[in-house]
């Protein structure tokens, strides 16, 4: 760990006042402190934001609003969330461990860093950590890496489960900086690695996430998050699917789908959504609709199984929803 200054802010304006590229906001610290100990993140200033009033889980006419400092466990167990947005609760419940979820915040979750082992080991080359140094994962161990949205510079997955569910439900993030506030659709928040994998999102230096809003929809209440991994708990996804269906009778009226564990960012699958719309909710429909889900995938030496796993995860999630009806 490198020396840094530590301050605690009491208001959003105070927190963002002179925050810049060298500043890291401290929420639960489950990503930040971990990576500082590994010398992967070396902020000169750490600003504790835990006293900021970024709380509250509310449902109104527009939808669900969650403060950036709400803890993962509080959101996961919230009755409104469980009832109206089950996939959000499930995505959180299937994340990390109970202890971590008691600490970790919603804002921090969306900004957690990749679990690529080379990113976390400062003795190896990694373009995301050290632009231009190379990507060790291309020739190294890459079983858990992405197949969609990758570039020659970086093939790391975005690890958040919550973000996958939020992208499926067209959530937006509210941001604040010294220049004012703005709202960005989460699907446009994350950047593809391209040649600049160290740029992970559209957040400006010193900009703060203040909250997340998820619109009301006829499908959010009939949704599921399926997470596939080697062990039953306490592991990131090899593949995950956030699926919401609006069914009329036995016909799919609307579908919203995003997948995790396979993309360099949470990956919305609008093609699959379209292929389901207006079709009977049957195994045949599901099989054919997911046929192209992994189109354009660029598998690596150790993750050639991911296109097939992705398709099957989707069929599994669709089947769960159809059976639950």
């Amino acid at each position: 760990m490198r020396p840094y200054t530590f301050t605690q802010s009491r208001s959003v304006s105070e927190a963002v006042a002179d925050a810049g590229a060298d500043t890291a906001f401290l929420a639960g610290g489950t990503t930040l402190v971990d990576l500082m100990k590994l010398d992967v993140m070396t902020p000169a200033r750490v600003v504790d934001i835990n006293r900021l009033p970024l709380h509250g889980i509310t449902l109104d006419r527009d939808g669900l609003h969650i403060g950036a400092l709400e803890r993962m466990s509080d959101v996961a167990t919230h009755r409104t969330v469980r009832q109206h947005y089950p996939m959000i609760a499930q995505a959180l419940e299937l994340s990390a461990s109970a202890q971590l979820c008691n600490m970790a915040s919603i804002g921090g979750n969306l900004l957690q860093r990749t679990r690529c082992g080379y990113f976390r080991d400062v003795t190896t080359a990694c373009n995301k950590r050290e632009p231009g140094s190379g990507c060790s994962a291309l020739t190294g161990v890459n079983r858990s890496h992405a197949i969609l949205g990758t570039s020659d510079a970086c093939v790391a997955t975005h690890p958040s489960d919550l973000a996958v569910a939020l992208v499926a439900l067209s959530a937006v993030v509210h941001l604040a900086s010294a220049r004012g506030t703005r709202t960005v659709p989460l699907d446009e928040f994350y950047a593809l690695p391209g040649t600049t994998p160290h740029v992970e999102n559209v957040l400006r230096p010193g900009e703060l996430i203040t909250g997340v809003s998820v619109p009301r929809s006829p499908w959010a209440g009939h949704s599921v998050y399926v997470k596939v991994r080697d062990r039953q708990s306490y592991e990131f996804a090899l593949a995950s699917a956030a699926v919401a269906l609006e069914l009329r009778g036995s016909t799919v009226a609307q579908a919203r789908i995003a997948v995790g564990g396979v993309g360099t960012r949470p990956w919305r699958l609008t093609e699959v959504e379209r292929a389901l719309t207006g079709r009977p909710a049957t195994p045949d429909t599901f099989e054919s609709a997911v046929g192209g889900a992994a189109d354009g995938a660029r598998p690596l030496a150790h993750n050639a199984f991911k296109p097939a796993l992705l398709r099957r995860t989707l069929v599994r999630a669709l089947t769960v929803l159809q059976e639950r009806r």
Partner: protein
């Protein structure tokens, strides 16, 4: 004694200390003036260090020393010939050679843990790198050395007139040939390896987790160049060994040497990342098993060959057929041939059932394949090939109730409801399957000494330098002491984990309990004899002048001539603090027999129909381990072993980068072991049949002290043997897919 604790469900005597945090592990000990160390490790797989830049680290706050290879100030000696093969074969920080990725190349010592860690991050090194040899498939092979029990590891037994094992296989009706692969696995003990070294002149006290405290002290003294009697190793509470704490690793050597050079106590705690390269691993290996049998499954030939990694710095010599293929089944033709492949990898070490876990995975999977090929039920197949004498040695067993394990296990599990055809049971999203396998583990007794002291407060102290790795050693010593002396458990004070105590049994090879217990019995008997002697010779004793043979000892009291007195009262009356006696035993067991524990595993899994991940839903293990000393601890050991087996089958793997020699996994988030959610209730049943030939070094029980002929065998590792095969066989039954490369992850079943 009617209410002996032996065989009951006894709580850990150290349980309260552990859950309240009062039990001190190595890193918990304070020492005035302690300085803190942090090591820096190599980032190439093989080569030479050309330069280490320690300037920035030295200038960093609180830094006292930076030791960079080669640093003669540390004064570490090469391994003495008698210890070669037992420890890594180089002296750390004494030359510029890089032998593996993740080797110690420098160490920072500072006033605080944080200062040492932060300064260590500033040390940089340049190398003259060479490509490391990492390929098990491509590097040259050499025959493996002798097995852990000293027998030759290469063995061929042929029936009269049979020319070769190949000929025997060719002449068999049914042949199964299968190749198995197991990657690098790690002990991942919960407690990080920690060393605190405190010098006092030429004498040093070291706090470090050790499975064999006296041997650890001896190895350390040689490397430091001090006399064996000048080193004391304290290892009272240990957070897991699993084989990684059998020997002295480079961390303890450099910490102790630095403390001497600096003239201050030095504490070094490895990080989790460092533990993946500095304190051993289970060597990766390939095995080929060939079975030849008649159409009804009677074996005619068993062949078991293997290629295992042997790190250039030394490591564990894996002989996977040892106690598995050379032991389990009757066969007229047997060939076992382990080989080694020298690679530039971190030092390896025995890891839980080091030969038997991999060996049984291969053999017991192949047996399942033979069951499929012949259409014989897997339990029946094993009974048809049941061995009554060891196939390798021709010796009968001291005691063997494996057939009963199969039958009791099958009944408890409901094996008869199994569908022989794969994919026959589907429930919703899940395919269900069942599988079984055999467990076996050699019973070896090691030399040890135990001292029993009877004190004037009516308590007894039982002392021996064995170790409790979390396994229940403290409690075992207390139970056996209480039983041997016929007094309540709470009046026995166990003393272990200190090399200054009488030489204890190693906590390795599932042998600590059955090596120690007979000597506790022996020492108790001698202590009672000493008490009687005192009673008849001391003028203040009521039995002064009586004949020692007339005194009876019962439940903590001496009785004779119408009088009875507790030993405490007698000692008080005589003004004596206590009497003691020490018993020593050479280990071993009566010749002419084979000694093994046995068991049978039955497993049910479900495999997701869509995404193919496997979850274990039921597990039954029945084991024949001789006498059970503590039913609770015994069950825990078996359950722990089965969990290890589930991890072996489904999760554990550290991927090796062939071009760099780097082990890719370095945290418990990417080196996966089972979590609670992966483990169902595990049904463990122990037959509790005392082994009639393991009744202690002193022959018969002598009639007066407790249960004496305890007849215990080992049970620490046997749960780990065969359990992975039971999981894999269940996966085959569920899916029809046979996976011979562990871990059996979902991508192999898609």
């Amino acid at each position: 004694m009617t209410n002996s604790p032996v065989g009951r469900e006894i709580d850990r005597v150290d349980g309260r200390l552990k859950v309240t945090g009062a039990a001190q592990y190595s890193a918990d000990y304070p020492a005035p003036g302690t300085a803190y160390a942090h090591v820096v490790t190599s980032t190439i797989g093989r080569g030479t260090i050309t330069r280490i830049d320690a300037g920035a680290a030295l200038a960093s706050p609180g830094v006292l020393r930076v030791y960079a290879a080669p640093d003669p100030r540390l004064k570490l000696y090469p391994v003495a010939p008698q210890f070669r093969g037992l420890v890594e074969n180089y002296a750390p920080l004494q030359d510029t050679a890089v032998r593996f990725h993740g080797q110690v190349i420098a160490m920072v010592v500072a006033e605080s843990v944080e200062q040492a860690r932060d300064a260590a991050a500033l040390v940089t090194a340049t190398y003259d790198a060479q490509p490391p040899r990492t390929s098990l498939a491509d590097e040259p092979r050499v025959p493996a050395g002798p097995t852990v029990s000293g027998s030759p590891s290469n063995l061929t037994i042929l029936a009269p007139g049979v020319e070769s094992i190949d000929a025997a296989l060719a002449a068999s009706d049914v042949v199964v040939e299968a190749e198995f692969h197991q990657p690098v696995q790690h002990h991942v003990a919960m407690e990080p390896h920690a060393t605190l070294a405190v010098w006092d002149g030429d004498r040093v006290t070291v706090h470090a987790g050790a499975q064999i405290p006296p041997a650890y002290a001896l190895l350390l003294s040689q490397r430091l160049g001090v006399l064996p009697q000048d080193i004391r190793l304290i290892s009272k509470y240990v957070g897991g060994g699993f084989g990684a704490r059998v020997v002295v690793w480079s961390d303890a050597l450099v910490a102790a040497a630095a403390a001497r050079e600096l003239g201050r106590p030095v504490k070094l705690v490895l990080t989790r990342e460092q533990m993946f390269t500095l304190v051993g691993h289970r060597p990766h290996l390939t095995q080929i098993v060939r079975l030849g049998a008649s159409r009804d499954g009677v074996l005619n030939a068993v062949s078991h060959e293997s290629d295992a990694e042997m790190p250039v710095v030394g490591g564990f010599n894996v002989t996977p057929a040892h106690a598995t293929s050379d032991t389990l089944y009757r066969t007229p033709n047997l060939r076992v041939g382990p080989r080694q492949v020298i690679l530039d990898l971190p030092g390896s070490r025995a890891m839980r059932a080091p030969n038997e876990a991999p060996g049984a995975f291969a053999l017991e999977t192949a047996m399942d394949e033979l069951a499929v090929a012949t259409g014989v039920d897997p339990v029946e197949l094993r009974l048809r090939n049941y061995a009554t004498v060891s196939p390798a040695t021709g010796l009968p067993w001291s005691s063997k109730h494996l057939d009963e394990c199969y039958r009791v296990g099958a009944r408890r599990f409901g094996w008869s409801r199994r569908h022989a055809t794969p994919r026959a049971r589907v429930d919703g999203q899940w395919l269900f399957g069942v599988g079984m396998a055999t467990a076996v583990y050699p019973a070896t007794r090691h030399p040890a000494s135990v001292r029993v002291r009877l004190l004037d407060d009516d308590t007894a102290v039982v002392s021996t330098a064995t170790a409790d790795l979390g396994t229940g050693g403290w409690t075992m010593v207390a139970i056996a002491g209480a039983d041997a002396l016929g007094i309540p458990l709470k009046r026995v004070t166990p003393e272990i984990g200190d090399s200054a105590l009488p030489q204890g049994a190693p906590a390795v090879g599932s042998s600590a309990t059955h090596s120690t217990v007979p000597l506790i019995v022996g020492a108790a008997r001698e202590a009672i004899a000493a008490l009687k002697q005192l009673a008849v010779t001391d003028p203040r004793s009521p039995w002064h002048g009586a004949n020692a043979e007339d005194l009876r000892y019962e439940e903590g009291r001496l009785r004779a001539h119408g009088r009875s007195m507790s030993f405490g009262r007698l000692l008080t009356a005589l003004g004596s603090r206590g009497v003691d006696a020490t018993a020593s035993g050479p280990g071993g067991a009566p010749a002419g027999y084979a000694y093994h524990s046995f068991g049978a595993h039955f497993c049910e899994v479900r495999v997701n129909r869509f995404t193919c991940e496997t979850r274990v839903t039921r597990f039954t293990t029945v084991a024949d381990v001789g006498r059970v000393i503590n039913a609770r601890a015994a069950r825990s050991q078996l359950v722990g072993g089965v969990i290890f087996g589930i991890g072996y089958a489904l999760l554990e793997e550290n991927p090796l980068e062939l071009d760099t020699g780097r082990l890719a996994g370095s945290t418990l988030a990417d080196y996966l072991v089972p979590v609670n959610a992966d483990i169902p209730d595990i049904d463990v049943h122990l037959l509790d049949r005392p082994d009639p030939l393991l009744i202690g070094p002193l022959g018969d029980d002598g009639g007066e002290v407790g249960t004496r002929s305890l007849g215990a065998r080992g049970l620490g590792e046997i749960g780990n043997v065969g359990s992975a095969a039971a999981v894999g066989n269940a996966i085959f039954n569920a899916t029809g897919i046979r996976v011979r490369d562990v871990p059996i992850t979902l991508d192999k079943l898609l």
